[in-house]
């Protein structure tokens, strides 16, 4: 460690020299790293946005509980309190007959005239429950045991499909991010190995003079770090520009998609990509050095 601090100036000059001596090779390495981090940035953004969309749709998951007429208003309020305290319930409220009527009018639009043929309001009041979708099954089981409930409209089929889509999106997201992450690691360690190979003669000479492996490897570690960090920063900037353009394009024709705020998305993306570029750069350098040492 003492040696590293002692020679820090030398190591930095050495990185500059090594990059300068293999300028073209390093330029291509830098561009490849930028490109792969840009792809990773886009995959992560897509994953986040789809996660937010699913979250927003999940937030709309609702079931309706119809209760017996005989329980009266106080009975309905008691039932509401009981439901509110159950696990898996986000929010619950009573929708009375007149609100139910108005909602149907909204749904039917011009055809709402048909409702005028009824002498009395044909709709009964019910409790509308906004649920955590992953708790749906256990919640429905519990509701079926509560006295006073006549019927539950659970939209089970639709909600289960929604749950499946959400699970699939999470798994695909993890797989894609892991695949791109591993690819990044492999490519970076290969790039570092090529750099080490270009300097094989120098490394062997230092070994013959008794230089410790840390002394020999540190400039290459810094070189790998410089390439990946530079690539990560450039990829984040390109990612931010691309996202801003994509948001501008989507805002018009697809206003109903609940996109996360662009500022938050871009700053989170920058943090993730730059951190990953540091971690993957160091890991890639270690792998590259280890495999070059074996050789």
């Amino acid at each position: 460690m003492k040696n590293i601090f002692y020679n820090l100036g030398y190591f930095l000059r050495e990185v500059k020299t090594v990059i300068r001596l293999n300028a073209l090779s390093n330029l291509f390495s830098f561009l490849s790293t930028t490109l792969i981090f840009f792809i990773l940035a886009m995959v992560i953004s897509g994953w986040w946005i789809s996660g937010k969309v699913v979250e927003a749709i999940q937030g709309e998951a609702e079931i309706s509980v119809y209760y017996e007429d005989g329980i009266g208003n106080s009975g309905a309020m008691e039932l509401l309190d009981k439901i509110k305290s159950m696990k898996g319930v986000r929010e619950a409220r009573v929708v009375d007959e007149s609100e139910a009527y108005m909602r149907m009018e909204e749904i039917l639009g011009k055809d709402a005239l048909v409702l005028e043929y009824f002498d009395e309001n044909p709709f009964s009041s019910f409790i509308e429950i906004n649920i955590h979708i992953e708790e749906m099954s256990s919640l429905l089981d519990k509701l079926s045991t509560i006295p006073g409930i006549e019927h539950v409209r659970d939209n089970r089929e639709i909600l289960e499909k929604l749950q499946d889509i959400s699970n699939a999106l999470s798994i695909i997201g993890y797989l894609v991010v892991a695949a791109v992450g591993i690819t990044t690691l492999v490519i970076i360690s290969h790039i570092i190995r090529m750099g080490i190979n270009d300097n094989k003669e120098q490394i062997n000479t230092l070994r013959l003079m008794g230089a410790p492996e840390v002394f020999i490897g540190f400039p290459f570690l810094l070189e790998g770090l410089a390439l990946t960090l530079g690539g990560g920063i450039l990829a984040s900037v390109l990612g931010a520009v691309t996202l801003k353009y994509a948001y501008a394009q989507m805002a018009g024709p697809l206003p109903f998609i609940p996109l996360p705020p662009i500022g938050v998305l871009v700053s989170n993306l920058f943090l993730v990509i730059v951190s990953l570029s540091i971690i993957l750069g160091m890991a890639g350098s270690f792998f590259g050095l280890a495999s070059a040492r074996k050789k």
């Binding site: 002692y6 020679n7 020299t17 000479t205 003079m209 008794g210 410790p212």
Partner: protein, 224 residues
């Protein structure tokens, strides 16, 4: 400094590079190892640097056994050696001064002295005007001198020079040998290999070892 007893070196392809080598080197020695190409001179130097391990017999350099499982000790041993390689092994893209300094950077030389020691070493080989030249712009003879400067700047206990006179004319070769042996002192020994046996007739040495086909043909003592 060096103690070798009954050393054999056999390469994996079956080639026997060294047979029954016995050698002793003490501080202040100047030893010439001569012989034609393939006689085992470079193999012997590789053993002394711990690049190869003996397949039979024992060898120790500065008290460090050269054997499998001794890698970290051998790494430390190398910091006490001053190697002058056959093809110099100077690092391209760096100046002569940077090359000499590089050989010392991991030796715990006080930071303020690093440059001065390197400059003194370059001066001692007569190339102070070339210290800021990139090594690829130096002539063969100049590279040889910078390689020697790099070796001696490390203040080694044992200088090992592999064919330092190769490709040089007689006068330059004699100058190089003179330069190398001038770094010998009471605590430093110098081992030089060369195929040019005729050159050493005019030089000072404590021991001349003639090798042929992996064995020591003859040994003779000299005076320094």
């Amino acid at each position: 400094m060096v103690e070798a007893k009954g050393v054999f070196l056999k390469y994996p392809d079956g080639t026997i590079a060294l047979k029954d080598i016995n050698l002793q080197v003490i501080p202040g020695d100047i030893i010439y190892i001569t012989g034609p190409s393939g006689s085992g001179k470079t193999s012997l130097l590789k053993l002394l640097m711990g690049v190869e391990y003996p397949t039979e017999g024992n060898i120790s350099v500065l008290g460090q056994p050269i054997a499998k499982g001794q890698e970290s000790g051998i790494r430390r041993l190398r910091t006490a050696l001053g190697p002058v390689f056959q093809e110099f092994r100077l690092i391209k893209g760096r100046t002569a001064l940077e090359n000499v300094m590089l050989g010392m950077r991991f030796l715990n030389v006080p930071k303020g002295q690093l440059k001065d020691i390197a400059k003194d070493a370059i001066k001692s080989v007569g190339l102070e005007s070339k210290e800021l030249s990139l090594v690829e712009n130096l002539s063969w003879g100049e590279c040889q001198r910078i390689a020697i400067a790099r070796a001696v700047a490390r203040k080694p206990a044992l200088i090992l020079a592999d064919e330092p006179t190769g490709n040089l004319d007689k006068d330059n070769a004699l100058n190089i040998l003179e330069l190398l042996t001038s770094f010998k002192d009471k605590s430093t020994a110098v081992i030089i290999t060369t195929h040019a046996t005729h050159l050493i007739e005019e030089k000072r040495f404590t021991k001349h070892i003639q090798m042929n086909r992996g064995i020591i043909d003859f040994e003779r003592l000299g005076v320094t």
